[in-house]
């Protein structure tokens, strides 16, 4: 299946807001979502953005029955480790259910890794809910390791060789 990965822009905020809600529903906490499309526009696309976005898009002929061509996203921002310096934190990674298993997730996380390395990051961190087995399995298969093995939230990190490898996918 053909798809493209690109940096998000202001016009993507409507679809990002939609997919944030879909991800929250998947994580069973959609009532926690307060951020609106307008917040995303202001917070992500003004002079000093608080996050950056990547969008996965499919051509018109593969659009969903509701007409969506933007079918996945990742949100990340620059973070800092007091022990090792520059880091990337991947806040969200999501692919719509009917587009999974086709390499979109890998492509999104790879893009985040590339951009992170280009910005001088030493590590990529993120969290996963421990019952989310498909996601945990996916991340472990990409060479990440689990920093807090016994918790509800896991901090995952890709660093060094695993990160470089991820950026080359």
């Amino acid at each position: 299946m053909d798809f493209s990965i690109r940096a998000a822009n202001l016009d993507d905020c409507k679809d990002i807001a939609r997919m944030i809600m879909e991800l929250a529903e998947y994580e069973k906490v959609s009532d926690h979502v307060k951020v609106t499309q307008k917040d995303l526009e202001q917070d992500g696309f003004s002079k000093n953005p608080f996050f950056h976005g990547i969008i996965a898009e499919v051509p018109e002929q593969h659009k969903t029955k509701e007409g969506h061509t933007k079918i996945g996203y990742a949100l990340y921002f620059h973070a800092y480790s007091s022990w090792s310096g520059r880091a990337i934190y991947m806040e969200d990674l999501y692919v719509m259910p009917e587009f999974r298993g086709k390499g979109v997730g890998k492509a999104l996380i790879s893009k985040v890794a590339q951009l992170g390395l280009a910005a001088g990051s030493h590590q990529l961190n993120f969290t996963v809910l421990d019952w989310n087995k498909p996601s945990v399995d996916f991340y472990l298969s990409q060479g990440c390791f689990d920093i807090t093995a016994t918790m509800g939230y896991h901090c995952m990190r890709c660093e060094g060789e695993a990160l470089k490898h991820l950026a080359q996918l």
Binding site: I20, H32, F51, F77, Y80, W83, Y153
Partner: protein, 171 residues
């Protein structure tokens, strides 16, 4: 004891690294610190800072002595797509011999104020579960434990607790 809380400046970098290493030693992770003074300088005081730092210094016994840096906090802004901007407290430390003087509370109060001014909906940080003094310090101030298991935890101050912490000290 007089202490002064101020924004860190490039000249503070050696002290920041010193305190980072002291805290890592306290957590028995000193060997994990690979950050250098050069990186701290470039990353905190260049065109696009990756972190911000505030420090607490204490005036020496004699006025001719340089003030001593005895505490610091390192923070940056993050984003929760559900509730928006957060202030992320990456590192927060007061030297052993200067604890119990309100320095830590002063730092947290300053940061809560900053979080509110910059329209953050929370302040987040991670604490090792076995660090009882720190866990109690934060819980006393209304922090919520977001990941109630053993090991590392995500803590968040919600709006009400931030407002309380941002209020002027009773002393």
């Amino acid at each position: 004891m007089e202490y002064k809380l101020r924004k860190a400046e490039p000249r503070d970098v050696p002290d920041i690294l010193r305190l980072v290493k002291e805290l890592a030693k306290y957590e028995e992770m000193e060997h994990q610190v690979t950050l250098t003074e050069k990186e701290l300088l470039e990353d905190g005081f260049g065109d696009t800072p990756f972190y911000h730092c505030i420090i607490t210094e204490i005036q020496g016994q004699n006025s001719s002595e340089d003030p001593k840096v005895v505490g610091f906090a390192m923070y940056y802004f993050t984003y929760d797509p559900w509730v928006g901007k957060q202030l992320y407290l990456e590192e927060f430390y007061v030297m052993d011999e200067y604890r119990g003087l309100g320095i830590g509370s002063g730092i947290l109060r300053h940061l809560s104020n900053l979080a509110m001014k910059t329209r953050c909906t929370g302040m987040m940080f991670v604490v090792a579960e076995n660090n009882e003094p720190s866990v109690q310090f934060y819980k006393r101030r209304g922090a919520e434990d977001l990941s109630q298991e053993e090991g590392w935890r995500l803590f968040r101050f919600d709006k009400d607790s931030l407002v309380k912490m941002a209020a002027p000290s009773e002393e």
